[in-house]
């Protein structure tokens, strides 16, 4: 925490210097960028329907498969790792529909939700209004190009975002895995991720904290047939990068860019980005809907209970997980990573 309380009005002034405010009160740089599970037509329809119904009713009616992703209270479980006191000013980079921005706003002083996809932010803003939250400010901008503000923040959230930083193009997730376009990059994915993390750190106050959530590149399941969740390719998360590139070019006509890391690799990355202290946590079955989170340094997995199954394959898989995590305590193969990094 900084020694002086952060003034949200001064941060708002900072934002006013860099952005316009549109008719909805959203800070915007008017850039045309996009990352969404929905395609642009779907999002346009969502924007048209939003004034007439509540956000949850709309999603439940039109996109029921997204209801839990957006509204499930399970998603906020990792926030307790931050040791929040309630006085924090936070910035959620890649906030999308507010899965973490909203619960964060329910327990901290102020949240700035930043995303490049305007319709997502309109929905997020409406969610905040429906809940009577007046401490959410919404910023439409490319999170990779955030300016350095004079007023610093206490907490930065980078939740399921870092792996998409190196993919610098508009993404409609439904068609992303069919595209064949090749965009040439001058930086490696790691360089782009480091630049982004450096910029995030620049905007943190002294002793400010970063909450980073990401998949583990050597999750045990990736070795036994679970596809990389970002590329939908087998084995690319842990193969040498040049081999992953070859596989991705064969399949999609473009190199493998959605780099994720092991626990050690994530820690190294954060240290390289200038964070002084990094605490790692293991998440089961993943960081998005965790049932269990354990500190990585403790090797404490006694309380981990894998989900029961009714199929033979499921039973075998469950048995394997019990062996790997409870008996052999191979924590480096845990599925999800949350890192709390201190500036």
């Amino acid at each position: 925490m900084s020694t002086q309380p952060i003034s949200t009005s001064r941060l708002d002034q900072d934002l006013d210097q860099h952005f316009d405010r549109d008719s909805r009160g959203i800070f915007t740089s008017n850039m045309d960028r996009y990352w969404s599970n929905l395609d642009k037509d779907q999002n346009e329809k969502l924007l048209n329907d939003l004034p007439n119904t509540s956000t949850q009713d709309l999603i439940r009616r039109d996109y029921p498969h997204l209801e839990n992703i957006i509204f499930s209270p399970k998603r906020a479980a990792g926030l307790e790792l931050l040791g929040l006191t309630g006085s924090e000013v936070c910035m959620d980079f890649g906030a999308m529909w507010g899965a973490l921005s909203i619960p964060l706003a329910q327990r901290t002083q102020h949240v700035y939700s930043v995303d490049q996809t305007y319709p997502s932010l309109v929905l997020l803003k409406k969610r905040a209004e429906e809940l009577g939250l007046d401490n959410v400010s919404v910023v439409h901008h490319d999170i990779k190009k955030m300016p350095t503000f004079k007023e610093k923040i206490d907490v930065a959230i980078v939740n399921g975002v870092l792996e998409w930083i190196p993919d610098d193009q508009s993404i409609e997730l439904g068609s992303f895995f069919k595209r064949k376009k090749v965009k040439r990059y001058s930086q490696t994915p790691k360089e782009m991720q480091l630049d982004f993390l450096n910029q995030v750190r620049e905007n943190l106050s002294d002793n400010g904290r970063l909450y980073l959530a990401i998949e583990n590149s050597i999750d045990f399941a990736m070795f036994v047939g679970k596809p990389d969740p970002h590329s939908q390719l087998l084995f690319t998360s842990f193969l040498p990068r040049f081999l992953a590139n070859i596989i991705s070019i064969i399949r999609y006509g473009r190199p493998y860019r959605n780099w994720i890391y092991s626990f050690g690799g994530t820690k190294c990355l954060l240290k390289k980005a200038g964070f002084s202290k990094v605490e790692l946590y293991m998440c089961f079955p993943d960081y998005r809907f965790p049932n269990f989170i354990f500190p990585y340094k403790s090797s404490y997995l006694k309380d981990f209970v894998p989900k029961p199954s009714s199929t033979v394959k499921g039973h075998l898989y469950r048995f394997a997980k019990l062996l790997i995590y409870r008996v052999f305590r191979m924590k480096s193969l845990s599925p999800g990573i949350i890192a709390i990094a201190t500036k």
Binding site: P73, A76, A77, E80, P103, P290, F292, I293
Partner: protein
Amino acid sequence: MISLLRNCVHGSDIALYRFCDADGVCYIKTSYTQNGILDLRRENAGWRWYVQTFLPEHSFPINVVETGQFFRLQTPQFPGKKYRYADGLSPLNKTAISTFVAWYVANWPGTRETAPMHGDLSLDNILFDDQPYILDWEHFTQLGPFWGFDACYLLFETMWFHSQQHALDPHFPFIAAQLKRLSESARLPAPILDAPLACTVSTIRDNMQLWGDQLQQFESKLPILLLTDGEIAAIDEALSSVLS
């Protein structure tokens, strides 16, 4: 160090954590929804009543953070050993239940008509040390149903788990003995002994609002609700023949 142990299970909107530091271990529950916040307010009330009533000489801190849209409850770790409810009416569990019923009869306040109620008293929520220490007060109410309800529930829930794997016949004398002990306090309503299981189940069904929405969606949270009327009648008949 903090660990997430449970996250929004069985229709609940509450996450449970264990926190360890140099000062010891405590447990934290949080919720961001109105249903979860109501449950945690009840749990906070239950903890405070329990600690003030039974543990006034101890220093067991209970801390609350509430913003109106978020609730965080921090409770102490109690000493003691927990017994596995899934083992049913094993010899160890029977000893634990017997110990608890004796303590309940000697200490729990209330009348035939109403008594403070825990609402989910299973072996999973009791630690046994110098005395029983009771956890998980999210269904607490000061004005619960009849005195003895929680003890009856503990007996019958353990019996239910036992019935999933084993025959109950050899254990009816034990259950009847605990019920008799409760009745000797003169606070257990007399009709309970005529049909103890049916009374316990019907008390829950007649007062579902005490357990909130969660029970409406997940009856398995109080597994004795899964018994059929025929099963309940058969068990009560067996108990009656032992009690008489």
